[in-house]
């Protein structure tokens, strides 16, 4: 079935170093040339809750991580109780006997191996704080990750804490590794690195997003903290000023958005980042930016709604707001990264679109992308084409019209500080000069001008707009958007292994829709399955309004990413309706 890989989950109390253990191990594996993907959940509460870190290591690029795992490292009883039934068949639980007194709930088929994390840390490292280092050493051995690489990362991490701390940690690390040597035997995993060392990076979606913004030349970032978008703001505060930009933690989302508009008005590339509740607060100002035709990028890292909802969980439920969330009619562009790599390139693209079409662009990321890390080819800054605003020709300067009604809909813009281009950016309906004008004829003309920009864009039908994986002879096509892509890809592959051919269409731009491409995808198949992580089928609704078809909707709102298995199951079901195994009569009786 799928390529060789190992799936490890680490669970324990938040603050015990669960996350850093996972981080170090996966980064070391990546340095060795393996591909990794990780997935973590924080406790919804602030401290002391259950934290988990899951990682997948493989020779080949990884598309999805799933929710199940072969190896569980349980730091405490709570983790053991919560996670043991997520284990794949034939899996092994490694547990700290000092913290896990009760194994009675664990199914008999699961192997259990005691790993004295606490004791070894105390004994070898002199402090129980080294528990996670013991685990790290042990897991390195388990996954055949080079001890020296891991030790190097540990050294980097602790170099500022002084020799003593470092030595204690290294001692625990080695103790764990040695214990592994003695314990692991057949359970060890040997994966062959395929990529060359040093060509990949391990990075999260939020980090990639902000790097993409830097690559595009973003010079102003204002945000208000909100899970799971805060780390974009935090990353910006650490780096954007160095790149000549400005970062403001605003007093609220409205202020953040307003200040981006101000920055954009004076000619700077500006962005904000938020999640659902904050996005709603920005609605009025997003509409203003659209009306004033000012570029601005809004990152929306979706989380579970409605309202405060499931603030640390996964959901794709802000799409309809992103597309339709304006009173009055104001065009905007919506793109949705599907992978961590997309977070970089597509965010950079979002800036180009914003500048080129002079309108707000919403980037719909999500919790899953935001916090997972992944091995990706090192981002290539030279692949980012940086667009700038359209400037007036000398001819146009003779009678400068800020809102000139052009064939593309895009008008030339002049930045404050430049002599000769004085103008006003109005929120009122206006004529080509920006002077308020309320006639019906002018309103219709300016509406047409503003929306024409979307037509100009959607006519371009460029490759980046969608991933289209047509399969010869497929009767089914899956359409998904955003971070479900990997799971869908794996499911399609699994289906192919069972002889069910399924095409896969995954747009990166969700509004305006890449119409021609979708029409082509639809034309080739009998049935379409739309996969989304929400309750009401938001993208499906949008597609239906445009294309008048009747998809099977696979909707999940479980707070966790959909898995390839879940998608596969639905593929099989739909396939069966097209090729009923039972005699027709019986099949009808079923309905």
């Amino acid at each position: 079935m799928s390529a060789p890989h190992v799936l490890i989950r680490i669970g324990g109390e938040g603050g015990e170093g669960i996350i850093s253990t996972g981080d170090l191990l996966s980064r070391a594996a990546s340095r060795q040339g393996l591909c990794i993907m990780t997935y973590r959940t924080y406790p919804a509460e602030i401290k002391g809750g259950l934290a988990q870190f899951q990682m997948k290591l493989a020779s080949d690029p990884i598309r999805s991580i799933g929710l199940r795992f072969q190896h569980l490292m349980a730091f405490n009883q709570e983790a053991l109780d919560a996670f043991h039934d997520g284990m794949l068949k034939g899996g092994t639980i490694y547990y700290d006997p000092a913290e896990c007194p009760d194994l009675s709930k664990v199914s008999g088929e699961i192997e259990r191996v005691p790993i004295p994390l606490t004791d070894l840390a105390k004994e070898k490292g002199g402090s129980i704080r080294g528990k996670n280092m013991v685990a790290l050493g042990f897991l390195s051995r388990l996954a055949s990750v080079d001890l020296e690489t891991v030790a190097g990362l540990v050294r980097e991490k602790f170099k500022r804490k002084g020799e003593k701390v470092l030595d204690s940690n290294l001692a625990s690390l080695n103790a764990g590794y040695d214990l592994g040597d003695q314990t692991i035997d057949g359970r060890g995993v040997k994966l062959t690195p395929k990529s060359q060392r040093g060509q990949s990076i391990v990075i999260s979606g939020n980090e990639a997003t902000m790097l993409g913004a830097l690559a595009a030349g973003c010079k102003y970032m204002a945000g208000y903290p909100i899970t799971p978008a805060s780390s974009i703001l935090e990353f910006a505060t650490r780096h954007l000023p160095r790149f000549g930009g400005t970062v403001v933690q605003a007093e609220d989302e409205i202020s953040a958005m307003a200040s981006c508009i101000g920055a954009s008005f004076v000619g700077k590339k500006a962005m904000t980042a938020t999640s659902g509740p904050g996005l709603m607060l920005k609605g009025e100002l997003i509409t203003l930016a659209s009306t004033q035709e000012l570029p601005v990028v809004i990152i929306d890292v979706q989380r579970g709604g409605p309202s405060t909802g499931l603030p640390t969980k996964q959901e794709q439920s802000d799409l309809k707001f992103a597309i339709y969330g304006t009173a009055g009619e104001a065009p905007k562009i919506v793109v949705a990264p599907a992978t961590v790599e997309d977070c970089f390139y597509l965010t950079a693209k979002a800036f180009s679109l914003a500048e080129e079409y002079q309108m707000p662009v919403i980037v719909l990321s999500d919790t899953n992308l935001a916090v997972r890390t992944e091995t990706v080819p090192e981002f290539d800054v030279s692949r980012v084409d940086v667009a700038e605003r359209l400037r007036p020709t000398p001819e146009q300067m003779k009678d400068y019209k800020r809102y000139e009604d052009t064939p593309t809909g895009v008008s030339p813009i002049i930045d404050p500080g430049t002599p000769g281009g004085l103008h006003i950016a109005p929120g009122l309906e206006h004529d080509e000069y920006g002077t308020p004008c309320y006639t019906g004829v002018n309103h219709t003309k300016m509406n047409a001008k503003r929306f024409r920009k979307l037509e100009t864009l959607s006519k371009r039908a460029e490759e980046w707009m969608a991933d289209w994986a047509p399969v010869e002879g497929a009767e089914l096509c899956i359409i998904g958007w955003g971070s479900t892509k990997g799971a869908i890809q794996e499911a399609c592959q699994m289906a192919a292994e069972r002889g069910i051919r399924v095409s896969h269409f995954h747009p990166r731009i969700v509004a305006p829709l890449p119409e021609a491409q979708i029409r082509e995808a639809l034309s080739k198949v009998k049935k379409v399955i739309v996969v989304e992580e929400n309750f009401t089928g938001q993208f499906s609704h949008f597609l239906k309004a445009k294309f008048k078809f009747d998809p099977v909707e696979v909707l999940r709102s479980m707070g966790v990413p959909i898995t390839p298995d879940e998608v596969l199951e639905e593929i099989v079901k739909v396939h069966e309706t097209l090729h009923p195994a039972k005699p027709q009569g019986a099949s009808y009786a079923h309905r």
Partner: protein
């Protein structure tokens, strides 16, 4: 930067005629503003003027510069984004009491304490003009308006006291019936390197008969000669008095504008993190 030929007040006029009612106080404020710009020799292309929504927020349409007529209550943060992004610009915000102190209140303490070099000209008519005469946050208790037929139930907000509490570095009050005094205040406010607030009493003869040029004149008085504008508590005390003082209530001389702090931060980050090199930053994730 004086230009070849000195700009006259009329040079700041756009072709657009103000749409205000005859007798509106905003005319006086606009004229004083033209004069202040001319006195300071602000070049129109270096002026960025922001406003919200309201009669008073229409002012930018009548001023030569790069102007931004945004939505209701959000002019201050928009102006801050502009000033941070191009500190060379002279950034001014105009708007009404409703725009600034009702829907926009939430931004005031924060823009103020950050202290960007922005001048905020509040045209205070103690009423909502554009929406035809409802109470404003500055309307006195008991005032009858279209939304308070038997009198307002709310004590008013005191803009000067509020701004002093927020620690604005320049707080003044003027009167559109005193254009010369107002021009002087505008000049001082724009020259102040930091956030400067000017509360302008600007009558709305159409909807507010409780605050007219006539009724104001006897109440208005310049701050006493001996008022110490560097004393924040004294300024607060003056703001609470029943006399409607005009002049500079508070002026803090040590004022580091926000955009300057950002410039220092940039330098510091380069010092700690090295020159900007995106490829190098990406490589850190190996």
């Amino acid at each position: 930067m004086p230009t070849a030929e000195k700009l006259k007040p009329n040079d700041y006029k756009t072709g657009r005629e103000p749409i205000w009612c005859p007798g509106c106080g905003d005319f006086g404020a606009l004229n004083a503003f033209y004069q202040a710009l001319s006195e300071l020799e602000v070049e129109p292309h270096m002026l960025a003027l922001f406003s919200g929504i309201g009669c008073s927020s229409r002012l930018p349409y009548f001023v030569n510069g790069y102007c931004h007529h945004g939505v209701h209550g959000r002019a201050l943060p928009a102006a801050m984004g502009a000033k941070l992004s191009n500190p060379e610009l002279t950034v001014v915000v105009t708007g009404g009491d409703g725009d600034g102190f009702s829907i926009g209140t939430g931004h005031v303490p924060h823009i103020v304490r950050r202290n960007p070099d922005i001048t905020y000209i509040m045209l205070d008519n103690e009423i909502y003009g554009l929406t035809k005469g409802q109470i404003a946050p500055t309307s006195p208790v008991g005032m009858t308006t279209s939304s308070t037929p038997l009198g307002s139930l709310e004590d008013p907000l005191n803009p000067v006291a509020l701004l002093i509490a927020c620690n604005a570095s320049f707080v003044a009050r003027g009167f559109s019936g005193d254009p010369k005094g107002l021009k002087d205040l505008f000049v001082k406010a724009i020259s102040h390197p930091g956030f400067a607030f000017v509360d302008v009493l600007s009558p709305c003869p159409t909807f507010n008969m409780d605050m007219t040029y006539q009724s104001l004149r006897p109440k208005v008085s310049p701050l006493p000669e001996d008022h110490d504008s560097s004393d924040r508590v004294a300024a607060f005390a003056r703001a609470l008095e029943p006399v409607v003082y005009t002049g500079v209530f508070y002026h803090r001389r040590e004022s580091i504008p926000y955009e300057k702090r950002h410039a220092s931060l940039r330098a510091k980050q380069v010092e700690y993190g090295g020159q900007p090199d995106l490829a190098a930053l990406i490589r850190k994730f190996r």
